[in-house]
């Protein structure tokens, strides 16, 4: 149906990404046309072609009028309807998607300016507030709750013309690593329906993986975007703390929470990040630093030199390739390191001695903050209220019925850690460890451009496998929590598969950058992705849609 030979990829060296800003500049259309894409409404073409930006493809096909926004949206919605009974990645699907798409088509017909994300179907994790849809954070206590406002990130995406397709499933309040902790449903991994999609942004990762939407927003407190991205074979981007406004993100652990992006290509994750980044007067912790165009340095595969990453210093974190990590995962990460070496990087092993301290420190801090952040769910003003004779039972019963067991456990842990007499031994000590971790990251990042590690110790495991073993599940966060404690940006992208044949599961590796240097991560990730041979990360469930 189409050939990648005719697809010169995006001539991003010449592509002026700021043009994507809303409102668009008049010359954008010609720029987009200059892409000369011969594709119709499609995604990756053959099994070996590298992933490409669906956002740019959609834009090009709309502007060239090769397809309509309604056709595009209908394609996604049909796939969503077909796959959703198996996947259960959505808690809510919007019923206005086609209407919004029609409006975009009308704008195209009237030759009106289009937002840079016009016609792009975005799924939003259900702990991110949307004014016209429920936002439950996967919890019974917010059953039926509809916020009166859009989260800043959602508002920005809408202003860019994106269509919010629905709200994705998650572990209750983001607390979990499998999405089994949702109070509503268990999401399946599109690669193997008997396995978990990871979590807590499991719905967002599964939805992108199964091409139920173009891109999605997730949230990452201890790895909740990156680990599911690895499990589902998609790109997951955790920005620097403060890069993206948290306003409208239902707080789990405020000092660790960030909104992250999930896409089927590095370019898409980068474009979305660009759209949602920047200071927000509603979030005092959002950074006022300039937001560069994260994708401006992308180089088309055809224009790559033989050593496009020459001189880039890459540190492989020794402590992450240790006991307890699946040997297949280790060999894939080592393979990724070799691949980077071939691209010209100087790869060395580095040590983060404080690495193993991250997990306990993370669970103390995250639990402490969550015990406080979840105090507002008292049944008094919104959410589920239990009928009670007096206020103590109203509080107690509303919370007992509204929260799931994992949430209760973390509230208890956090309350304990903050109690008089324990504060110094737990919370304060964990903060000291956090400082230590920040310093040791800074030290190695002064000598290296990026660090790499697995995104998770294994590929996706079976549904129910770790449900009754919280410590094993917590241990699965070891690769990612340190990055949140240090507030650094990290990009997870697929680098291969474990197993084979019908049990083949994708695995991603993690690249960690210096604070606010998402640009470098995305550039390296993009080159890696474009040069990775022989891998297609479209799950068999929907592969037919993308066959030649």
């Amino acid at each position: 149906m189409l050939s990648s030979v005719h697809n010169p990829r995006f001539l991003l060296l010449h592509y002026r990404w700021p043009n994507l800003h809303f409102p668009p500049k008049p010359h954008r259309q010609t720029t987009a046309k200059a892409l000369h894409t011969t594709q119709t409404l499609t995604l990756s073409s053959t099994a070996t072609s590298p992933p490409q930006s669906q956002i740019l493809t959609i834009r090009e096909s709309l502007l060239s009028r090769r397809t309509t926004a309604v056709e595009l949206a209908a394609g996604y919605l049909n796939r969503l309807r077909r796959t959703e009974p198996h996947l259960k990645s959505f808690l809510y699907v919007s019923d206005t998607v086609l209407k919004e798409a029609e409006e975009i088509d009308r704008r195209i017909q009237r030759n009106e300016e289009l937002g840079p994300l016009a016609g792009v179907l975005v799924a939003v994790k259900d702990n991110i507030c949307t004014a016209d849809m429920p936002s439950t954070a996967g919890s019974r206590i917010l059953d039926g709750y509809r916020p009166p406002f859009d989260a800043t990130a959602v508002r920005k995406l809408k202003e860019c013309g994106a269509i919010v397709v629905g709200k994705t499933n998650l572990d209750e309040f983001g607390m979990g690593s499998t999405t089994e902790g949702s109070a509503y449903q268990v999401t399946a991994n599109p690669w193997d329906l008997s396995r978990v999609p990871g979590g807590s942004s499991g719905g967002s990762a599964a939805a992108v993986s199964a091409r139920q939407c173009v891109v999605s927003l997730g949230s990452d407190t201890g790895g909740s975007v990156r680990q599911p991205a690895s499990f589902c074979g998609v790109v997951g981007l955790k920005p620097t703390y403060g890069r993206v406004s948290r306003y409208g993100l239902v707080a789990y652990a405020s000092s660790l929470d960030v909104i992250g992006c999930v896409g089927s290509s590095v370019a898409d994750a980068g474009i979305i990040l660009h759209m949602i980044s920047g200071h927000d007067r509603f979030d005092a912790t959002s950074s006022k630093l300039h937001v560069p165009d994260f994708t401006s340095q992308f180089i088309s595969r055809d224009l790559l030199e033989s050593k496009p990453l020459k001189g880039l210093r890459v540190g492989v974190i020794r402590e992450t390739l240790d006991d307890g990590v699946d040997p297949e995962v280790i060999s894939l990460v080592r393979g990724a390191a070799s691949h980077l070496e071939e691209l010209g990087c100087i790869v060395t092993e580095v040590s983060l001695p404080s690495f193993s301290l991250g997990l306990p420190a993370y669970f103390i801090l995250a639990s402490s903050e969550s015990s406080s952040n979840l105090s507002r769910y008292d049944g008094v003003r919104y959410g589920n209220q239990v009928v009670a004779d007096e206020i103590n039972s109203l509080y107690g019963d509303s919370r007992a019925k509204g929260f799931g067991s994992e949430v209760k456990m973390r509230i208890l842990m956090g309350t304990y850690a903050l109690s008089a007499g324990y504060y110094d031994a737990y919370y304060k000590r964990a903060q000291q460890v956090r400082t230590l971790i920040q310093e040791s990251f800074k030290e190695v990042l002064d000598k290296n451009d990026i660090l790499i590690s697995p995104a998770a110790p294994s590929a996706a495991y079976k549904i129910g496998e770790k449900k009754n073993d919280p410590l094993a599940m917590y241990a699965g966060d070891i690769m990612t929590v340190n990055v949140n404690l240090a507030g650094l940006p990290a990009l997870v992208l697929p680098c291969g598969f474990v197993g084979g044949g019908s049990t083949c599961l994708p695995v991603g590796f993690q690249m960690i950058g210096a604070a606010f240097d998402e640009e470098k991560l995305l550039k390296v990730g993009h080159i890696f992705e474009q040069t990775l041979q022989g891998c297609s990360f479209v799950p068999p469930l929907v592969a037919d849609d993308f066959a030649c």
């Binding site: 406002f149 405020s254 103590n392």
Partner: protein, 546 residues
């Protein structure tokens, strides 16, 4: 602690008199009581010795052996245009839940962003209280459940308050013995107010009004330096003056813009360690502070004298204005654990020296500075305290003397007729029509003899009620004093001629009638005759041999 607190508020009578205060066998009985009135009546039967009427007398007697130690925590509501962490306005008395937004309602996903005015006001008050400012402070979360606290925690400052270690100077009123006092300030910190609960008549449910939630407060904690109810009330009054002079709060106690909780303990004189302290709340006026403390001192001392000092327990008591007594609200079961930890949603508060200096330079003249200045002008302490009490009165006075008015005369006019008029008409000094310029003119006109003091008074009321100028009124009403002896003599002659009978009586020895004649002449002159001249001429005529 706060959990049980709710019941205390919702159905206050239940917890007014826990068993600690009474024999245990009564506890059940009191818990089943439905009405506050009944309980208070019963309570009085139990302790008839605590009658208000005898309170001050008893206090005098016993205070020889005991001394009270009093510290005050004051919450000042800041008069910022918007709330502390969102852009909602706050107006006292608005319809419930009309000035709220996702942030102050604590909706999921909403975040606080600090209003920089709060910092500015905190620094102002910190400087005015002679405190040391923390260049790096932070916000913390104070956690407890209560229906008026939407987030389940209050954003406050815990271990690093914005200002510490200051003091406040004040002069006690002359009628209470006078004297200068300096009371220590332990700390000043920033926090947010909670909402309000409205309890329904039948007590089956309560309503939550979040208008006040998120309004910025400064909490000022004093050292335990006060010894009497009067000292404590004056401390609070000086704090009110200070916040009003600084313009950081309206300081209105009735609206709850200035709320004082006092800690009272007593100890035998000479003892160094403090006695068990009792916290008293619900003090809505300075006199309530004073009376509540005196009551509490008496109660505690009596318990000491009766050998029942173990009945003094660490507790929170409410001042019952109707019954003029304090009653138990809740007993403290150990220290409440608020699980403070640094507020992760707000960055640290970092003050630059330049910023602080800028605010210091912009501080107005504060009450203490004003009092010292007025004192140096030679005014009596009573005058000084009166004039410096209200910033608008002080400004009026300053403006009047700036126009050249005599200091003592200006003070007398303001404290006398002007103050009386304002009181009667319930007007503030800014609402009367009289300007400092015209008061100065009036004083000068009397002093210069253009008009008499009596006429001056008449004009004053006209000026206060309708405005206008002294000169204009004098001309308009033809009020210039008659100082021409010939003219006055004519009037004297006329009056004497018209009153032959009285003249006869006068000359017959009834010299008191001089006043009658003077009055008649003054009447004839329409009050314009110079009184000195009038009397001189009148006497001459009356005593003249005919």
């Amino acid at each position: 602690m706060a959990l049980s607190f709710f019941r205390g508020i919702q159905s206050r009578p239940f917890l007014l008199y826990p068993s600690g205060f009474f024999p245990r066998k009564h506890a059940l009985f009191y818990c089943t009581m439905k009405s506050t009135q009944t309980q208070i009546a019963t309570h009085e039967k139990q302790e008839p010795q605590l009658k208000v009427s005898t309170q001050s007398k008893r206090l005098d007697k016993i205070s020889k052996d005991f001394e009270a130690v009093i510290g005050i925590e004051t919450h000042v509501q800041l008069s910022t245009i918007t709330k502390a962490f969102c852009s909602c306005a706050y107006n006292y008395g608005s319809q419930p839940n009309t000035t709220v937004c996702p942030i102050c309602m604590g909706l999921p996903g909403a975040l606080p962003v600090l209003n920089s005015k709060v910092i500015e006001f905190a620094v102002k008050l910190g400087l005015a209280l002679n405190c040391k400012l923390s260049l790096n402070s932070k916000f913390d979360r104070k956690q407890y459940f209560y229906p008026d606290l939407p987030k389940g925690y209050q954003i406050s400052q815990f271990d690093v308050p914005i200002a510490t270690g200051g003091f406040i100077d004040l002069d006690l009123p002359v009628e209470y013995g006078g004297g200068h006092r300096r009371f220590g300030i332990t700390r000043v910190h920033m926090e947010e107010d909670a909402g309000k609960l409205l309890h329904t008549g039948n007590g089956s449910y309560s309503e939550v009004d979040l208008n006040r939630a998120g309004v910025p407060l400064l909490e000022i904690v004093s050292e335990p330096d006060m010894r009497t109810g009067i000292e404590a009330a004056e401390y609070a009054a000086e704090l009110q003056r200070l916040v009003r002079f600084l313009g950081v709060s309206n300081g209105n106690m009735q609206e709850g813009s200035l709320r004082c909780d006092v800690n009272v303990s007593v100890r035998p004189i000479g003892q160094l360690e403090f006695g068990t302290k009792v916290e008293v709340k619900n003090l809505n006026s300075f006199s309530a502070i004073s009376r509540a403390i005196d009551f509490e001192i008496l109660r505690q001392v009596l318990l000491h004298n009766e050998g029942e000092s173990n009945q003094i327990v660490q507790e929170t008591r409410l001042w019952d204005e109707g019954a003029q007594k304090t009653v138990t609200m809740r007993k403290k079961e150990g220290l409440a654990d608020y699980r403070y930890f640094p507020e992760p949603d707000l960055p640290e508060v970092i003050l630059g020296n330049e910023y602080i200096d800028g605010i210091r330079d912009s501080l107005p003249e504060l009450p203490e500075m004003k009092r010292r200045r007025y004192e140096q002008m030679g005014l009596s302490m009573q005058d000084v305290i009166f004039l410096a009490n209200d910033i608008n009165v002080a400004d009026f006075f300053d403006a009047t003397i700036a126009k050249g008015a005599d200091v003592k005369l200006a003070a007398n006019w303001i404290m006398g007729d002007i103050a009386a008029y304002m009181k009667n008409e319930k007007l503030s000094v800014n609402e009367i029509k009289l300007t400092p310029q015209e008061l100065a003119e009036l004083i000068a006109s009397i002093k210069g003899g253009t008009i008499s003091g009596k006429i001056g008074k008449e004009i004053l009321f006209e000026l206060m009620a309708k405005g206008g100028t002294v000169k204009g009124l004098i001309t308009e009403k033809d009020l210039v004093q008659i100082v021409d002896p010939v003219e006055i003599q004519k009037m004297v002659d006329k009056v004497i001629a018209e009153n032959p009978k009285q003249l006869e009586q006068y000359r017959g020895g009834k010299t008191k009638l001089q006043g009658y004649f003077a009055g008649q002449v003054m009447k004839l002159s329409k009050g314009k005759a110079n009184p000195g001249l009038l009397n001189k001429i009148l006497l001459e005529k009356l005593n003249a041999e005919s």
